[in-house]
Symmetry: C2
Subunit: 189 residues, 2 copies
């Protein structure tokens, strides 16, 4: 049940088995269906998720009604409606499972209990935020200046899993272009 989560934590920090057990007992399993909403706009996000299987997407809906993807998370990674989870303010993002997924959930209260009592868990979270920041910066650098065709080539090279796994529509919203533009660019390659 928890082997993937254990492996994830061990890959991030050195930790004694006893403390690892203490961590995982605070997670409970949760299965989702396709397009299940884990945090909706306006809600204050109270949970953090580990993805055993499946795929989650964090996105915002802009003024024109189009959506923009902030983040995709695949197997063996952790995610939440980050901004809302951090600030405990109503979320501007939606967090949904793109596929039927197997998750492990921890409440925010337990999450912070662990952060404050198990330094290695604090480190796991710390690394998560650092990575999330670095990834966001990379996207800004990569997508703000590039033309569409180069953004597409960029994901093909750096995040090929997204293209094989995720709908074109969602990928387009990640690249900051319309689905029709993405479709035309694909045919040009």
């Amino acid at each position: 049940m928890y082997t993937e989560l254990e492996a994830y934590i061990k890959s991030e920090v050195d930790i004694k088995q006893s403390e690892l057990k203490k961590i995982i007992t605070h997670f409970t399993p949760k299965n989702t269906v396709r397009n299940e909403m884990l945090c909706n706009i306006g809600q204050v996000c109270k949970h953090f998720y580990f993805i055993k299987k499946g795929c989650l997407r964090l996105y915002e809906i802009d003024a024109k009604g189009n959506d923009i993807t902030g983040y995709f998370a695949l197997e063996n990674s952790i995610i939440s409606a980050n901004t809302s989870f951090m600030l405990q303010k109503p979320s501007r993002d939606c967090l949904v499972s793109l596929e039927p997924s197997e998750l492990l959930v921890i409440s925010r209260d337990n999450f912070y209990k662990l952060i404050n009592t198990i330094p290695q868990f604090a480190t796991v979270y710390h690394k998560f935020i650092e990575f999330a920041f670095i990834h966001s910066q990379m996207r800004i650098y990569s997508f703000l200046g590039m033309e569409g065709i180069d953004k597409l080539k960029w994901v093909m090279e750096h995040e090929p899993k997204l293209l094989s796994r995720i709908s074109s529509k969602a990928v387009a919203s990640y690249l900051g272009m319309t689905n029709s533009t993405l479709s035309k660019l694909r045919s040009k390659l």
Copy 2:
């Protein structure tokens, strides 16, 4: 000399005066001239900066030779060539002072010594990364979908200091457009 830094830390966490003193003794003053390079491409960033006065800019140079701003930092904030500082890998960013600036510098070794011995300092850093992440996500959401004119209005509303303080050229590189486009958009308002 250190009053601004003290005020900054106290605004982020509750801390005893004795520990505050312990922190600030690890910072040393450094004054820069305009366009002074604090971390260049290829260098591994070994320092973290508090800005007493002035303004720093973090940017990358893309394939076409244009530059893209990842981050501006003004008075009373902290910054580094974040990605390189975190990963200790050669930087893809440049960190420069746009104006003659008064900085307080701490070495990475001392920085981590403080992180590991003074929990409040760890919290200050933790909050910094959270903020940096949230800010980056906001930029992705705001700039990836918007048209130029809306991006301009967005900064005018949310980060007006940038427009009064920073060269058009640098602002354009922050908004992901050319300087001539920014200039034309300005005249449309």
